[in-house]
Symmetry: C2
Subunit: 339 residues, 2 copies
């Protein structure tokens, strides 16, 4: 039995989406036990009338609510009875708890994980690694996508090692092709951090570093992992998301401008739906936080039940893959300077 | 008469695209005079049999060729007889020459412009400002998109002022809405540079600063100017380009997977072509270099004749708008520290 905590407060559709997602995950996976974090009475009401295996689910009362504008450090310090912070502390203090899934505040989750949960030995900074679909049918992991807006080349090397192990162990990608996000392909491109990181990545044994990547090639299918600082990684992921959505929206609008198009679109209705689903990052799970001492998965704030289910499934697979031990072993091979 | 130099060597389709683009621009604009830079015999051969007003075009012999792997500093130092470097020097030394258009090496052009041409008084760093289409039918300028991979908050303020004046004076956008590219909307988001830049932008009189922008909203139509460091600005522009291209390519491929889709697509053929054209950044001109003492426009390396024509037209409009004088005047209002 693997026990995963689900933070049910935070996110646009709470507590419905987290609770519903948890029930779906429970049904799909008989080895799963779930702890729902949040206000007990609200969660009880949400579960009422639902069909589920009560022996594998429990409610953990966490009544405090995190406001939208609260500073992450304040949340960590003052809101110990919020669903998120209580989840982090329970995860830290209980050997039988494997992971936490949350669709709440990203900043609070990162700060909380750093301060209260801690890191895998040797890891300087945990980093987010969301997945995007690539055009050859595979997935590409982007690490970091926002946990660290300022980085050194040593950070980037660790992000590369962690994300490569993640794609290999959790998604079965053999020898993942790792690229460094940069403004050009040549080794000397970019700022000082990138210029330092390039040879470091080259020299990292066991890492299939294929060189720099220009962001226009993200979805090309040529890469399995893209290494970036959290600022430009965030820009990379959100621009992809935004462009796809805006373009599909524009196509939809333009269809209505002409009756011929409307007829054509009728025949292609299923295809357009599929394209939208293909580009919907929620279908590929959450943004896992790599490098924390236990598994933490962050789902998008707008996650629906299916998206939350995917996050739970992802957390489960991370735990059974033994990823943390792998990361500790590989990271130990190199000297990384704490900043 | 406004005289513009066109660098005819460099780019994927040279010298055809630059020469053809120049001839198109000449036809469209009777006030234009063009100097074609490059190997004289090759350019003569290219012009042969073409119909043009010979009194408004001249060939300037520049036989040296810039190799793909040459370092920008070497190009600037050693290749004074290349079409690009000769163009920059002629632009600097001749009052009657207004602008240079090039689709050659970006690095060489930036370095050459900085070292040989110089800046508008007060400008710390020139910056690129390409345009992308926004979904409300307008345009959004991104400044910087790659000239400066490392910046300070003072640079970002200057980019904002220059790009805002550009959109206002050259594209007629009244009081352009200027946003700072960041990882979240709140003022305290981002790294130290962004945290410093936010209040600076707020305090800049005459600037319609609307706050931070998350990259997923780039095409939303809510912004006219996005201010960024050259690294993340480059990621922003190229990710938009790449995502749109890959998505349209995928749609095209998927259409062939089903005969119903093929029929539908037949009815929508014109629309798909229009979407592709809409997202084709070449249709919106080149990436102008803001802050140099004279007008420099950089077209994409893959530019065709129409794209080069747009770049020439853009250079012309920048010159007649008196943008440089405007930039000098506005920049002078603030103390900017040279780095």
């Amino acid at each position: 039995m693997i026990k995963i905590l689900v933070d049910c407060f935070g996110g646009d559709h709470c507590p419905e989406a987290p609770v519903e997602g948890a029930l779906r995950a429970l049904k799909a996976n008989p080895e799963l036990h779930i702890g729902l974090l949040g206000d007990e009475s609200v969660l009880k009401a949400q579960l009422e009338g639902k069909d589920y295996d009560a022996s594998r689910i429990e409610i953990i009362h966490a009544p405090e609510v995190i406001g939208c504008d609260e500073k992450p450090t304040d949340v960590v310090r003052l809101k110990r009875d919020s669903s998120m912070m209580k989840g982090i502390i329970l995860l830290r203090d209980n050997d039988d708890v494997a992971a936490l899934v949350s669709i709440g505040s990203t900043g609070a989750l990162v700060t909380g994980a750093l301060v209260r949960l801690g890191r895998i030995p040797g890891v300087i900074r945990p980093a987010f690694c969301p997945l995007l679909p690539s055009m050859d049918g595979g997935l590409v992991g982007i690490c970091d996508s926002g946990a660290n807006v300022e980085v050194t080349s040593a950070h980037l090397r660790q992000f590369a090692i962690m994300a490569s192990l993640y794609m290999e162990n959790v998604y079965g990608v053999k020898s993942p092709r790792v690229a460094l996000l940069n403004v050009g392909l040549e080794a000397e491109k970019g700022d000082a951090v990138r210029q330092e990181a390039y040879p470091l990545l080259r020299q990292t044994e066991g890492l299939n570093f294929v060189g720099n990547m220009e962001s226009r090639d993200l979805l090309s299918g040529k890469y399995d992992v893209v290494v970036a600082d959290g600022f430009s990684g965030n820009v990379l992921v959100k621009t992809t998301e935004g462009t796809a959505l805006e373009l599909l929206k524009k196509i939809k609008k333009d269809i209505y401008s002409c009756s011929l198009y409307k007829m054509g679109a009728l025949l292609m209705k299923r295809m357009f739906k599929e394209e939208k689903e293909f580009m919907n990052y929620q279908n590929y799970g959450g943004s896992v936080l790599l490098g924390t001492s236990k598994v933490v998965v962050k789902g998008h704030g707008s996650s629906n039940a299916v998206a939350v289910e995917k996050c739970i499934e992802q957390a489960y697979r991370m735990e059974v893959s033994g990823l943390s031990a792998q990361i500790e072993k590989e990271i130990a091979k190199y000297e990384h300077y704490e900043d």
